[in-house]
Symmetry: C2
Subunit: 407 residues, 2 copies
């Protein structure tokens, strides 16, 4: 099964928008075992759009057209597909009613133009998922005696993604004669190197090589940690879920508390959720991390209900603490932030003082909880800017582990 | 003149890398008045690469191939172009020597493979700019009796950009029979709305419409402010520079101190440079901005030599200041940061206290200099996360203006 992507929009060619959609679609196709040999960007021009879509149909089994489904005169993807199919367009009353409802729900008058979005080529069906006002389309077409398909999805990334994951990927594989579903889950880990993690999970990887019902893949993702992706092909969602859950349980036994989250969860969202659940607040001494922790936390907790603030100052300015060893200085800094800002918990990340002998990349992190303090020394890679980001995740991970213990 | 872009690399199709190069090239082509109707991504496959490049040559006058110029066996752009040109490859001794020098300069042994990068199709010339170990190529080719050209540039963005700006854009326009150069300069402004700025500059825009030797375009860029792009077409660099400098002077008279920088300068880099030049340090009260200012400053000033730190706490926690009006509270917060952290200058951005009646988006910003304090009230657009970023630029802009006055 081969599927191409045609990204539509003059703004893409002019560089006003970077085409991240094709990349994401390409990744999803690869994960589903579907080849994608060409991806094309073309402007809002009917002849050139037709040319690109026809060419993609000639050399592949399917083509995903992304963009050009809006309500304006520029949005001609529907019309071009109807022309290629050799059919008329017909207004889909159910979609038209749904679009009206969306506008009513927002309390805004609907420009009549918007109903163009309810026009569907005869023989096409709309995609069930419709998070915006633009319906996606599945358009079957016969090319030189072969059954092929054109999909149309909006250029708005989250709308496109919902339709890809909800309909298109499974539809593609069914067309390939494969009625199974492919599902995957990503376990997010922190604190392992890639080879150490691979070693820890080597038995599971080998077992799956033999058993064949699932695969495990590793992806080192910088400050996002190392991702462990479990992928399985099963008869249906329920069967896939059972296989993934069983494999996840086995991996969790081996990797234990290095797993901080699942799929799109980040360290920040996980820690924030744990604190919120426990009704705890926290603050930070960002001497080393220079505001990175704060800006990420305030982005996720805009009202600063859980993350209450930070102190940021260059390393070692607190004269009275200079005589202490690194870990104790980190504890002192975390305590200071906790007291100054008045929170349940304080955290800190510090670099060694000038003149102290430590390997490059040495960082002292500390977490001060209501009933105890803990610090550790870690060696982080990279230049200062990268080390700062690593230090943020390292100190949050320490906090996460202590919160997990406290239940 | 029409020019297509072929981005080469299986990793682009698999979504492991987002193709930002094509977008940037598309933008540059548009600015140079060159049409680009199609942009294609293709994997490291010789037949499919050949197909894409041949097709682009059929329907356009030029094609820019981006990527596949590295030293590994996967990197076959050179070979495919030689095949399309119908010529052999020949090793360019000067390039080979230069590559050897680069490795010697880094004190690293050169894998023999790297000399593949010095292989050039017969009849092609290498591009003068060569910031890495991959030379760019200009490959003239006759297609159906027409003189056309294939350019090859590395996929490393900064290397590609240097070659585009240094050679390819001018070469394209010369081939178009146009020996003039197109040059542009962006004046970065803050504090104007787009329509107000357009009104202020309306006379210049109209004058240029008549005079025709340059154009002015506006681009609203969110927290990057509004960009005013002066573009001119002139006989050579010196003539273009003279026209742009004259137009810039006229615009600066009208827009005055709303212009904070030129081209790629950001508000942060400009303020940091001004402080550094004057030997001044600063700190911030990030009650509203929640670490955004700090994280940007520490990214640009990793040693925290100029930006010395910040205090971050939720709005209005300083009980003694609660009775003050908003602007005075902002001054108090800036003074507090300045004293606590021990810097020459303190800045602050605060939101109104709960219960205070202000229009949505009201923010109080303050700058405390060694010899005076200043505050102002601004109305910023958008949701909280966006407002925070705007507040950072607004307070830095106030600081910039005061520093500019002090010379």
């Amino acid at each position: 099964m081969r599927c191409e992507v045609v990204a539509i929009g003059t703004e893409l060619l002019l560089g006003q928008i970077v085409d991240t959609n094709s990349s994401w679609i390409g990744e999803q196709l690869a994960l589903a075992g579907i080849d994608s040999h060409f991806q094309v960007k073309v402007g809002d021009n009917p002849d050139r759009m037709e040319f690109c879509i026809r060419q993609a149909l000639e050399r592949s089994d399917a083509v995903i057209c992304c963009g050009g489904l809006g309500p304006t005169q520029d949005d001609i993807t529907r019309d071009v597909i109807a022309k290629i199919m050799g059919v008329e367009m017909v207004r889909d009353d159910a979609i038209a009613a749904h679009i009206r409802e969306i506008f009513e729900g927002r309390g805004r008058p609907m420009p009549e133009n918007n109903l163009r979005q309810a026009d569907v080529p005869v023989g096409a069906r709309s995609i069930e998922q419709m998070p915006g006002t633009a319906p996606g389309l599945v358009c079957p077409i016969t090319v030189d005696g072969s059954d092929k398909v054109i999909y149309a999805v909006p250029g708005v990334p989250h709308e496109m993604r919902e339709m890809m994951l909800g309909t298109i990927l499974d539809d593609l594989r069914r067309r390939d004669g494969d009625t199974s579903v492919i599902r995957s889950r990503v376990l997010r880990t922190w604190g392992y190197g890639e080879s150490a993690l691979a070693e820890t999970l080597a038995d599971r990887v080998n077992a799956l090589d033999t058993e064949g019902h699932a695969t495990i893949a590793f992806q080192a993702s910088g400050i996002e940690g190392i991702k462990v992706r479990i992928t399985t092909k099963a008869a249906d969602d329920a069967a896939a879920e059972a296989i993934i859950a069983a494999e996840e349980a086995l991996i969790r036994e081996l990797v234990a508390d290095h797993i901080f989250g699942v799929d799109d969860e980040s360290m920040e969202t996980v820690v924030l959720a744990m604190l919120r659940e426990r009704g705890l607040t926290f603050s930070a001494a960002e001497n080393l991390t220079g505001g990175i922790l704060s800006s990420r936390m305030t982005a996720l907790d805009p009202g600063m209900e859980v993350f209450k603030g930070a102190t940021i100052a260059p390393h070692g300015t607190n004269e009275s603490a200079r005589a202490l060893p690194g870990e104790d200085r980190a504890v002192a800094a975390a305590m200071n932030a906790r007291e100054m800002i008045g929170t349940d918990i304080g955290v800190a990340a510090l670099a060694p003082l000038e003149g102290e002998e430590h390997p490059p990349g040495t960082v002292f992190v500390a977490v001060v909880l209501p009933d105890r303090a803990e610090a550790k020394t870690v060696a982080l890679p990279g230049v200062l800017s990268r080390m700062r980001s690593y230090a943020v995740i390292t100190v949050l991970d320490l906090l996460r582990k202590r919160l997990a213990e406290s239940g």
